[in-house]
Structure formats: structure tokens, C-alpha cells
Symmetry: C2
Subunit: 244 residues, 2 copies
DNA sequence: ATACATATTTGATCTAAATCAATGCAGCTG
DNA sequence: CAGCTGCATTGATTTAGATCAAATATGTAT
């Protein structure tokens, strides 16, 4: 199975502190980060930030899964990203956030005070470069997701989503059995992520179960029994770029 | 009408050289950039880069309009961005490009040799920071576009697209009459950008003409006669974030 | 002008997925 | 254990937009 080494190669380094950012930091820089950090926890379902909120902190996810999304005036929701451990929240250099951040499962964040963090970015070129790399990875991932939203069928969306979950799960826990998948999201949340409705998600998962591609042990837990069929169903070519 | 000052505020500065990157460069840095730059031109319709191409240059658009997109195995195409003057092509720190770049109109690029450009980024913190800002702007724009692709109706997509064009046109040419729009794209290209088919694009434009929202002087040129109606049709709230 | 290629419009039909509407199934709580 | 409450499935129906199919401009080359 294809696992990208391009997506946040540093995310298993520096496991205790703030993995995403500090990959190349020396002890002095780590000390600064430690000084301005604090941990915060959120229960599943709780909003973390709302569109337009003033950002006094930037944060990186320590544990749990969050979502980044936008709600339209009439209530339609589109998720634009899932936040896994080591993912970053907030833009250095921006005082506001443009999207809603919600805790999907219980979430723990490592928060950095914005002002001193930005000072560190300004005075430490390799941190700026690391953040640039991360932003560019996310930009590519967002664009791949645009292809999914604009052109893929329901089946292809679901298959792609499952492949992405597998990739992210084995990245954050390389010891885990690769083909056992735990869905952190409800059908409705999956639907908001894929630009579908919850019924369509349910039907497609049901169909893939009936076809023997997935073996469910529970409504939120299954094993991929036929990875080739799953991959073919994504509509991507063999080495299709990594999504998230 | 709402014009964002967040989108590339520097794009009218430094008009002769390479506006996007050099906003804060001093004369020495500009000299380095001048040294490693060269101009290249492409005719409308020509491919500029293909997915997987080795990048020996990074570039910024001087004139014309380009597109960034991905083609699926079976030929389905999704554009993931339009490239206007001052937009940047290629990721510093990446040897390959993940998307197809095509000249939509005749295009002139200002190309920088990759290696020395990356050296400049590494040794010049404010350039890295500028690139980070640009990447984060594009990331927000890409995410807003995900909302469009995942949740908006055909009508909303078209209206949003026209608003975006107005914004970009008046950014690159503030003297232009804001509500006169020249479509640089064919119906088919608009469709690939919006996740629609060309017939649907044609029908929606036709309907907006009949409803008096747009006055066409030519198939590729029209005036927005009723901006409020257009904005309402986007489905965004009043101060809806800037798209591209 | 004539012919040809390329965009565009317009109409008729089809279909994937949305919507509407129950019903089923866990995990909790009292 | 009975009764909620919040997911999840399943079925019937509708519909926005895709697909299929001409017809009509527009532009360019001969």
C-alpha cells in the first residue's frame, strides 16, 4: 500500500512537545516554545473556534480529531479539512480565522501565544520554512480534495476518503494494523466532508459491505477486505498523490 | 462593492520586476532576483507544465491568465485555480509539480532558477515569510472554493465566479471599469473550474442575461447590471470572504 | 465569398444523488 | 427494563444537473 513520505515527515519526531513545528529546533528554541505553550482540552462536539474569532493562540493538535469547515447562511455545511495529531490551527500573521474549528472526538491542543510565536517565526528562518512546507503540503491536499468535490462520484468519494483515513491513521500510529479502520466521524460528518448527504454515505458504505470490499465489525469500525477494489474505486491512478 | 485588501496587498508594488515576491526586498536582494530571472512566453492553449514535471524554474505570472488543474485517468478535468498576474507557480522546496499548468490566454512568465531562488529563501527570512503569507492566502482561497464545489448550486457557482473575476480584474487593473467583465475562459473552461458541464454554464449565463442581471455585449464580454442580485445569487453572506 | 473548425446555444431525455419519510438499533438514564 | 435520544439504515419519490443531440454563431484560412 502506498504511504506518502511527503506528508509531514517530522510528525513522529519530538513526540512530547509540538511535533509539527519543532522538527528542526535546537534546545534554545524548544525552550522558548515550552515557555509560551499551554494545553487545552475539548469534549467531542464542542466548538473550538468560530469563523471570525480573534486568535490569541495558535495551536497544534496533540490528540483527537478536529474538523475545519464553513457554514453557509442557510445552514449548509462544508468541511474543508480534518485535523489529526500534529496538524496546525491558525495562520501566523493573521489575527482572525476564516473557518469553524470543531472537536470531532475529544481533542487536546497544544496552544502557543500568538504574539511571541510570531516573533519566533520572524527570528527563526527554519521555523518559517517549516511552516511554509506545511502550508504547501496542505495546499496540495486541498487542491486534490477540490478534484474530489468537483468531479468524483459518490462511490469514488467514499473510497478516496477511506484511503485517506488509512494513510493518516498509519502515519500517526505506524504500529496499527493498516487495514483496520475506525471511523472517527458520524455519517453526517463524513457527508459534510465529501459534499454528499448522510443517506448517500450510508448507502455507499452498505453497498461496499455487501460487495465484500469492507467487513464491518461495528457501525464505526471495519476492515478493508479488498484493498485493490477499494483503490480502483477511488478513480485515482496507481500512484495518485497523497490526500491529507 | 467589496474588494479585499487581504489578497496580495503587494501586487501593485514593484511593477516592473516580480511583484509577488519582492515587496519587501532591498536593492541587493532585487539584484539577486534580477540575476536569476528570465522571461518566457506561451501562446493561449499551450501547456506550461505537466503533472510530475521536474521543476527547474519557479515562476510568477507577468501577464495573461493561466490555469492550474488535474486530469483524471478517464479524462475528467478539474481546475483547482486560476493564475493571474503576480500569482506564483511552483513550490520552493519541491522538485516536482502536482498539477497541470496551462496558458488560458497568451501568458508571459518571469522565471527564477530554482536552486538559487531557494538559497535566497533560506537566507532571507522576510522572503520566506512573504511566501508563507502567499501560501496561506491561497490555502484560504482553496478552502473557500471547496465550499463552492461541495455545496453550491450551479447558479451560485456562476455568480461566485463572476464576483471573483471582478475582484481579480480590479486588483490587477484598478483603473478598469469594475462592472465590465471580460471572460478569459471558454464555457468549457469555466465548467472545469466550477465542477459543472459547459451546457449548464451556458444555460445559467443565458438565464442571468434574460433576468437582466448581466448585459452581454459579446459572448465573452458583459456588464453586471444588477450587482446586488448577483451578490445575493452567490449564496455568501454580505461580507463573504474573498475568493482568489 | 466558401468552406471548415471551434465555440456556443438550445432542446429532449436520463440519472445519480438529494429529499422526504419511516423504521431499526445502540447506549444511556432513571 | 422501559423509555429516551441520537445515530444509522432502508425505501419511495423528486430533481438539478448531466448527457445526448442538433442547430447556430463566430472566426479563419483558402
Amino acid at each position: 500500500m502506498y504511504i506518502s513520505d511527503r506528508v509531514r515527515p517530522s510528525c513522529t519526531e519530538c513526540p512530547i512537545r509540538h511535533r509539527a513545528v519543532c522538527a528542526r529546533c535546537d534546545e534554545d528554541e524548544l525552550a522558548i516554545l515550552d515557555n509560551i505553550k499551554s494545553y487545552k482540552s475539548f469534549k467531542a462536539g464542542e466548538p473550538i473556534l468560530w469563523r471570525g474569532d480573534e486568535l490569541t493562540y495558535l495551536a497544534s493538535i496533540v490528540s483527537g480529531v478536529g474538523s475545519l469547515g464553513k457554514t453557509m447562511e442557510d445552514g449548509r455545511i462544508q468541511m474543508v479539512g480534518l485535523l489529526f495529531p500534529s496538524d496546525f490551527i491558525g495562520h501566523p500573521g493573521r489575527a482572525q480565522i476564516e473557518f469553524d474549528v470543531v472537536a470531532v472526538t475529544d481533542v487536546t491542543l497544544c496552544c502557543f501565544k500568538r504574539k511571541p510565536f510570531e516573533d519566533l517565526v520572524a527570528s527563526t528562518p527554519h521555523v518559517a520554512q517549516r511552516l511554509l512546507e506545511m502550508a504547501l503540503d496542505e495546499l496540495d491536499a486541498a487542491r486534490d480534495w477540490m478534484v474530489l468535490l468537483g468531479r468524483k462520484t459518490a462511490r469514488e468519494k467514499i473510497a478516496t476518503f477511506i484511503e485517506m483515513l488509512i494513510r493518516r491513521q498509519s502515519l500517526s500510529d505506524p504500529s496499527s494494523e493498516a487495514l483496520k479502520v475506525v471511523l472517527p466521524l458520524t455519517r453526517e460528518e463524513i457527508a459534510s466532508f465529501l459534499g454528499l448527504t448522510l443517506e448517500t454515505v450510508s448507502r455507499q458504505l452498505g453497498a461496499m459491505k455487501k460487495e465484500g470490499i469492507l467487513h464491518f465489525s461495528d457501525r464505526r469500525q471495519f476492515e478493508v477486505a479488498d484493498f485493490d477494489a477499494l483503490h480502483i474505486a477511488t478513480g485515482d491512478d496507481a500512484d495518485g498523490g497523497p490526500l491529507f
